[in-house]
Each structure stands twice: as C-alpha cells, then as structure tokens.
Amino acid sequence: MLKYSLRRILGMIPMLFLISIVVFSLAKLMPGDALGGEIDPLNTDPEYIEEMREKLGYNDPIVVQYFDWVTGFVQGDFGQSVKYKMDVSDLILEKLPNTIFLGMMSLLITYVLALIMGIYAGRKPYTVGDHLIGGLNYLGLAIPSFVAAIFAIYFFSFQLNWFPSNGSVDIMVQEGTLDYWLSRLHHVILPAIVLGALSTASYTQFLRNDIIDNSRRDFVRTARAKGTSRSKIYNVHILRNSIIPLVTFLGFDIVSIIGGAVITETIFTYPGIGQLFVNSVSSRDYSVVMAITMMFSCLVLVGNLIADILYGIVDPRIRLD
C-alpha cells in the first residue's frame, strides 16, 4: 500500500511538469505580457519599458523564462496582480478561506442529507418515500448547478427572503463576534446546498443500493436468526458496511467542488477563488489566472490520487499494481 502510494505520488511529478508547461504556454500565447504586473502602465516611455522588460527577464530565452516562473511558483511567488496591485499569493490567501468554508459546508450538507435520505430509502425500498427520494435524486443529478442556483436565488432569496442572494457576510457585523459567524453561515447555506446537490444525489443513490444489497447478505440473516432487533441490524451491522465505501467518493468530491465553485461562486457573487478566477479571466489578469489554474490542476491530481488510494484501503480486493 505504502509502496503504491509512493509510486503514485512520484508519478504525479511528470504530470505536474506537463501541466505547468501547458499553463505557461497558454499564458505566453495570451495577448500582452502575461507576467507583466510589475510594469507601471502609466509610464509609457519606451526606455523605461525596455529597462523593466530586461529587468523582469522578458528578453531571456523562453526556456529560461519558464524555469524562472516555475522556480518562483514552487517558492510561492506567483507574481503580481495587475488589477488588484498586490501579490497574487496574498490575493489567493485572502479568498481561499471563503472557498474552503463553502466546500466544507457543502460536504457537511451532502453527508447529512445523503445519510438521512439514503438510510431511509435503503430501509424501506420500493415504498412511496423511496420513490420520492429517487425522484429528487434524479433531479439533483440532471439539473445543471447554475440553473438550480438561479432558481434557488429567485425562490429562496427574492420570493421567500430566507437567504441573502450575494456576498459572504453582512457589511454591518463586527468580525469575530457570534453575529459575524451566524451571518457567514447564513450566506453560505444556499450556495453550499446547490454545490452539494450533485454529490448528495450520488451518495444517496449509492447508500440506498448498498444497504439493500447488504440486507440480503448472510451476516444479516445470521444476526436476524440470533434475534438481533431490526433497528440494530440496520444501524449497526449494515450501516457500518455501507458507509465505508462512501469514503472513496471524497477524492471525486474535491474535483467536483473545484469545478462547481467556479460557477456557484460567480452566481452567488461569493468572494472565493472561483469568482476571483472568472473575474481575472475577464479583466485579463494573467498572473492570477495562471496561479489559480495551476492550483486547481494540482488539486485535481491530488483528488484523483486520494480516490485511488482510498479505494485500495477500503477494498483490499482491489489489487494496486
């Protein structure tokens, strides 16, 4: 297992290298200097620009420029944002907690809803409740998240006034107080539900089918024969077996939250990494775009890695070689 994990981690290095080349080439192909946040745009004196270009290394061979960029990147120096006039790393660090908070809340909501619905549907398959949950899941899987988000804002924010429609916190509240955290929670719930709808549906579906499968197994019959109560069989014997495989979904969740965050944060104007990315592409703030693209690519790699490794841990029958 350890050997396999190590080999997978080493295998990520050429992949990261290739992705970094692609990102760098894309940035180079973009109109203007992709890394040029440091040149003062108001100073149009050709001599000054030439001097700055020389100093920033734009006249170096492309390979040298690439290695400069990669070296900086590995050391956490992502360059300067043209739009915000600050270090990209600071900018990302400022927005990152919001995205992580959103992602965590969405996972939490996913787990809670999926457990409730999955266990209910699994215990009472082919009843009205099960079909209702099945139908809801189907909608969750089929409706695109951004359409769901628009409808959610319309109904829950504008018609019913239950949730705020934008931002991550009220402007009026003091940072650090209880009100502050409640306000943040209030703002994050709607986007988190929308972001988690897809995984909630697949979790529920999986849990339901697995519980039904397990309830026909020999160990359940044995337990029943020994006189174990029905609720104990379901809550202890079966659930323990059915929940473990769900762990493997975590890796894919990381990947889907990344894609979902870009759209969801933009719709809810939630100040996180996804929104920063979309705004930066629109305003051609390339150093930010490059940094976030690299970051997301790394996260996808890590997500897939986690999924593969967890598979091996949870189900030893899967041979990892």
Partner: protein, 299 residues
C-alpha cells in the same frame, strides 16, 4: 405448405435480432418514449426556427423592452425588446448544435483512440493512455475558460467553443472504449479472425466495434446532455457562444442582473426550463437505451 404453416406458428420473438429486441424494449419504456417525443419536438422546433417565426432576432426594439407575456409576444420581450419565444427557438438551435457537434467529435475521436489503444496494447496503449490521463487531469471548466478566452476574436465564435470543449472531453469515452475492447478481444472469434489474416483495421471496425457499440451509444446519449450543460454554463459565465448569438446559456446570462432575476422572470425562466427539460429527457432516453441494450435486463 408445411414449412409455411410452421413459420406462421413459430412465435415471432424467437427470431428477433438483438437490435429488434432492444427496439421493442425501448418502445415499451413509457418514460423513454415520452422523452424521445419531447426531444424530437424540441429539435424540430429549434431547427425550423427561421420558418416558424419571422421576427428578426437581432433587431433591437426600443419601444417594446421588457414586456410581460401577451398574445403578441408569447413569452414577453427582453430588455432590448427582442421576442423571448423567438430567441428561445433560435437559442435551442445553437445549444443543440453545440451539443451534437461536440458529442459527435468526442465519440469519434474517443472511439478511435480507445479502440487503437485497446486492440494493440503494449507500447501504443501506454502512450495513448498516458495522453488520455493527461487530458483527464485538467480541471475541465478552468481550462475551457482559459482556452476560449485565448482564442476569442481570432477565430469566429461557436466553432471555437465546439473545438475547445471537444478537445478536452474525449478522455472518458477513450477510456471506456478501451476497457470494453480489452475484454472483447480475448474472445475466440477475434483469434479466429487473426488466424486467417484479417487486417487489424478490419478486425477493429468489423468485429470489435459492433460489439461495443451499445456502450458507445449509451455513452453518447449521456455526453449529449453533459455537453448542452457545458455550453450553457460557459455561455452563462460569458466564455461560451459570443453574446450576440442567442443560445440558452446566453439568454440565462440576463438573470445576472438582480432586477431581471427578481422582477422579470419571463426573460430567464423559459431558457432555464428548456435546459432542465431537455437534459431530463436526454437522461431518460439514455437510461431507456441502457436498459434496452442490456441483454440481462428483462424490463
């Protein structure tokens, strides 16, 4: 005489080909049939849009901005005074075209890569699959946004989007086709075909692909739905089809203005529902096909 009677007496079902069985199963699936009819209606209405409505879609009509639905404008008009119903039809044309083209390209390319990798194995397989993994490891949305913002302005609109989306999404199909071919090529009839000297190209196209076709068909259906969503999502964010071309995603973009979202729902609800119902119907058809093409299911 006798043989004729025997053929009349024999139950028809026994002679049916696998495709006939599949067709019968599909026709008996109510949900899938209703969805097929709905999808066909949407496709026909969208592609006949120029003949159905005569309103000029690009003309801005200052006098008729943001009208509520009435008998003149069935679904009202948007903020530029354009008829929402007309735009919905034209938008469907663009969205469906993007969905279909991407699906076609992805299926052809993915099948090509997957079948070559699966059939030849070894070194070829290794190279092609590493390349596939590489493509699959890109965060899809992020790269599509970067690529299409890069290419925008250089090449004209819709086809850029189709090329970019296709280029980044063939990996899944390639993987599935490869794994199916890997299993299928172990059969003895392939050995037999090889032993009489059939060329590799012929073995792949004549013997292997027909046997994995059912998987590809189901996959293509689900891809079609995914691609419509991708187009709409990207256009909604402003990185898809150019703004002046109506598409369902572009029409939804207007809901980003709080006033439209809150007070003028007739502008964004129709494209929203059009997307939802189209995706749902495609998914139902996909499920129906999966059931119908699976010889083990007996629904």
């Amino acid at each position: 005489m006798n043989t004729e009677q025997a053929s009349i007496k024999a139950p028809k079902r026994k002679n049916s080909s696998p495709w006939a069985i599949a067709r019968r199963k599909f026709f008996h699936n109510k949900l899938a049939m209703i969805s097929s009819v709905f999808l066909m209606t949407v496709i026909i209405l969208s592609f006949l849009a120029p003949y159905i409505t005569t309103v000029d879609i690009s003309r801005v009509n200052i006098g008729e901005t943001s009208l509520t639905p009435s008998s003149d404008h069935w679904l009202g008009t948007d903020q530029s005074g354009r008829d929402v119903f007309t735009r919905l039809l034209y938008g469907g044309r663009v969205s469906l075209t993007v969905g279909m083209s991407v699906t076609a390209i992805v299926v052809v390319f993915g099948t090509l890569i997957g079948s070559i990798a699966g059939y030849f194995g070894g070194f070829v397989d290794n190279i092609l699959m590493r390349f596939t993994d590489f493509i699959l490891n890109f965060p899809f949305l992020v790269f599509v946004i970067v690529l299409s913002s890069l290419l925008f302005g250089h090449v004209s609109g819709v086809w850029v989007l189709i090329a970019v989306i296709s280029g980044l999404s063939w990996g899944g199909v390639a993987r599935i086709v490869r794994s199916k071919i890997l299993a299928e090529k172990e059969n003895e009839y392939i050995l037999a075909a090889e032993s009489i000297g059939t060329s590799s190209a012929k073995i792949i196209t004549r013997h292997l692909l027909p046997n994995v076709l059912s998987t590809i068909i189901v996959q293509a259906t689900l891809l079609f739905a995914t691609m419509i969503v991708a187009e709409a999502g990207l256009s909604y964010l402003g990185f898809g089809v150019p703004q002046e071309v109506p598409s369902w995603g572009n029409m939804l973009t207007s809901s980003r203005q709080p006033d439209v979202l809150q007070n003028k729902p007739w502008i964004w609800i129709p494209p929203g529902l059009a997307i939802v119902f189209t995706i749902l119907s495609i998914n139902f058809i996909g499920e129906g096909l999966k059931d119908a093409l699976n010889p083990k299911s007996n629904r």
